[in-house]
């Protein structure tokens, strides 16, 4: 995984990431590939694929990632806010062969920005790129859209295990940056309690100045 730096900083970041998107775009397949390295496998050992965790070490910082799968059916759409409350990141998945699923992503983005503002790191993921021939969503359109809403765009294939590691690693780094910026902001007066109640726990025994550098993420 990520470079295991020799840094002395003993911080542990805990992040909550929600998976959003229409049913059948490959959300569950993506996490199972990422956490278990399995695809459509009948011999998967985990009892469930709805809540999975991954421990990472990024530039010497420990990261505990909790990935929350959400029910994608339309009738559960209204429950979204309960799921994504307090999340640090959201992975919005669409199926590159399904134009409709991309429209759904746009709806999610609007909702998330409205409810959570810029606190949340957004990833838009076009999955199933192994089906390139059947593509129905243009790469350019998708990438432009992502940029316009301050999200990052990725392409992936759970089937071929393409683009998944990168996507999660990138997201983690961005969430770390956001968390550090948050700490710096809170450092000027505001109490830290709001911070950890939002779900980010920063266990910090380094002086504040050490992390203000913010360059740790460019290392891996």
């Amino acid at each position: 995984m990520a470079a295991s730096g020799a840094g002395s900083g003993s911080k542990t970041y805990s992040f909550k990431v929600v998976l959003l998107g229409e049913g059948c775009v490959g959300k569950t397949s993506l996490v199972l590939r990422y956490c278990e390295n399995k695809f459509n496998d009948k011999h998967i050992t985990t009892l469930q694929a709805s809540f999975l965790t991954k421990k990472l070490n990024i530039g010497g910082k420990r990261v505990n990632l909790a990935i929350w799968d959400t029910a994608g059916q339309e009738r559960f759409h209204a429950l979204g806010p309960i799921y994504y409350r307090d999340s640090n990141g959201a992975i919005l998945v669409y199926d590159v062969t399904d134009e409709d699923s991309f429209q759904k992503v746009k709806n999610w983005v609007k909702e998330l920005r409205k409810m959570l503002g810029n606190e949340i790191c957004l990833c838009i993921v076009g999955n199933k790129i192994d089906l390139e021939k059947e593509r129905n969503v243009s790469v350019q359109e998708a990438e432009q859209y992502a940029e316009s809403v301050g999200a990052k765009h990725y392409h992936s294939s759970a089937k071929l295990n393409k683009g998944i590691e990168e996507l999660f690693l990138d997201l983690c780094k961005r969430m770390m940056e956001t968390a550090q910026a948050d700490v710096r902001a809170k450092g000027n007066g505001a109490s830290q309690s709001g911070m950890s109640r939002r779900g980010v726990q920063i266990i910090d025994d380094e002086p504040q100045a050490a992390m203000a550098a913010g360059g740790c993420c460019s290392s891996a």
Partner: protein, 535 residues
């Protein structure tokens, strides 16, 4: 001339100078008759005991405070004692009484005091039983509690302290046990342990004065306390999250066991109203089927229906716990049983698309008591780190989703036409038309998978019949033993009688004088005969 009279004098026996412990060294009156070594040992032990007793005393004081607090609340319900300032409060109590009465029937552990009247009625109905239960509980308590923790029976059965003595006693046993566990746990931490204990006690006392606060403020207080405590612990344990969490779990357990009755479903909120609304709503949705919700669970497989039943039991059990984390654990266990059911049915790990509908189905089947109150309580008073990112938090969030879905559920969410939905809701039609015919088939041996509830009933009936038969056998055995004992006694008596008749006891009254039975008599020379001399 006995030795005792001699000792009463100035003579000092050698043994009195020795150590009372019998170690062989000389003792000293200043050390209570012990030698210096034994004295040190004894002193240490006594000191240790003293420390323990101090803690116990602290606990006892705490309990007394609580008891005083509870009885002062109880007094409010008596009109003559109601101060004018509390008049408004009483009126609002009056208003909610109707709802509360219903709650009392369902809740084993609700708050004390103000609503005494309706509860007394309940008590009268089950009076004899209650009393029996009380006696049993007292016996049990005697067995398991330390002597210093026993209150005198008269003190306990004091009238009007709480609506239902046996229930409050049960919970006070639990409180005692939790306090003891907490103290035991903190002892291992030594000095910081004491500091933690002090902080917690101070906080609980502080909270007792804040009972007029709204639920959100109460939550804020507890959350601030958690935050401060975990910040301090973090410094103390030098950032070891696991150790901090372990202590925080105990802190939560201790604090919330004590605060529970005042902060669970408080009167300042409409939690109770919501509980009843949800309960009615779920009851009205009894007709919703597995197919309508697209639940990927096949209850015809016995192992699956077994997991479904367990999941239902777990989510119902949540209400009986007092610590937020214990409530969460019930939800997690329920979820694991759901995952098992899905895994067995589908042979693949459950995704959120499988899990949420199944959880909704379980909640509809279970209709868990005080669901809204429990969710609110966990949200307000659980240690936040568990709720935010942890696995428990995920399942809890799904439960919240399930409840929200059930509240908003309409024809569309079940893929029904509006007309059908209306008809089912009003009870004019039932989607399970074929079911009445199926029911009789689900007989004892039939295992009718059509209705898991019914199968469960039959299984329970089987169990009960089995138990009855065993009880009968035990009684028979007891009766056999009794008659054996009686006949044994009779036979012994008979035998004794026979022997007595065979060898009658003849007590011969001694024929002669005092020394008649002296065997040596024969050897004595014959008594001197008087010799008469004539002359």
């Amino acid at each position: 001339m006995s030795q005792k009279s001699e000792r009463r004098g100035i003579h000092v026996d050698q043994s009195e100078l020795l150590c009372k412990k019998g170690c062989g060294y000389y003792g000293n009156a200043a050390w209570q008759g012990l030698c210096s070594k034994c004295w040190r040992e004894e002193y240490q032990r006594a000191r240790q005991k003293q420390i323990q007793e101090d803690w116990a005393l602290a606990e006892k004081l705490q309990r007394e405070e609580e008891a005083a607090y509870a009885s002062s609340q109880g007094a409010q319900s008596q009109p003559s004692l109601t101060p004018f300032s509390k008049f408004e409060e009483k009126k609002t109590n009056e208003k909610t009484r109707k709802v509360t009465t219903v709650k009392k029937f369902f809740s084993p552990s609700s708050r004390t005091a103000p609503k005494k009247a309706p509860c007394e009625k309940v008590e009268k109905v089950s009076g004899a039983r209650e009393r029996h239960g009380e006696a049993l509980l007292r016996d049990l308590r005697g067995m398991f509690t330390q002597p210093w923790e026993m209150m005198s029976p008269t003190e306990e059965s004091h009238e009007g302290k709480t609506p239902s003595p046996s229930i409050s006693r049960q919970s006070s046993i639990e409180t005692d046990r939790v306090s003891r566990d907490f103290v035991d746990f903190l002892k291992n931490l030594q000095k910081p342990g004491r500091e933690i204990h002090k902080q917690c006690r101070a906080f609980i006392e502080n909270m007792a004065n804040k009972k007029d606060l709204g639920a959100d403020e109460l939550s804020e207080c507890v959350q601030d306390f958690y935050q401060n405590m975990s910040d301090r612990l973090m410094t103390h344990f030098k950032g070891s999250t696991e150790r901090v969490e372990r202590v925080m779990d105990q802190v939560e357990k201790y604090i919330m066991t004590r605060l529970y009755k005042n902060v669970f479903c408080p009167e300042t909120t409409d939690d109770e109203k919501k509980d009843l609304a949800t309960q009615h709503r779920i009851r009205a949705l009894h007709w919703v089927t597995i197919e309508m919700l697209c639940v990927p669970v096949d209850e015809e497989i016995p192992e699956v229906s077994d997991n479904v039943v367990k999941a239902i039991t777990d989510v119902i059990e949540m209400d009986s716990k007092r610590v937020p984390r214990d409530k969460l654990a019930c939800i997690t266990r329920c979820s694991k049983h759901i995952f098992n059911a899905i895994k067995i049915t589908k042979n693949e790990p459950a995704s959120a698309d499988d899990f949420l509908p199944t959880l909704i189905y379980i909640v509809l089947k279970a209709n868990p008591p005080r669901l809204q109150s429990n969710i609110q309580y966990i949200t307000r008073f659980c240690n936040p780190s568990r709720l935010m990112t942890g696995e428990d938090g995920y399942y809890f969030t799904n439960l919240c989703c399930a409840v929200a879905f059930i509240e908003k559920l309409d024809a569309q969410s079940l893929n029904l036409s509006a007309e059908d939905f209306e008809r089912y809701m009003s009870g004019q039609a039932s989607p399970r038309k074929q079911e009445p015919e199926l029911w009789p088939q689900a007989g004892p041996g039939g295992g009718g998978g059509s209705s898991p509830g019914l199968t469960q009933v039959y299984q329970s009936l089987d169990l009960l019949t089995g138990l009855e038969a065993r009880q009968e056998r035990v009684l028979e055995g007891a009766r056999g033993l009794e008659s054996d004992l009686i006949s044994w006694q009779e036979s012994v008596e008979r035998e004794v009688q026979e022997i007595l008749e065979k060898y009658p006891l003849e007590i011969r009254t001694p024929a002669s004088a005092i020394d008649s039975d002296n065997v040596e008599n024969d050897r004595l020379p014959p008594p001197l005969q008087p010799q008469v001399f004539v002359g």
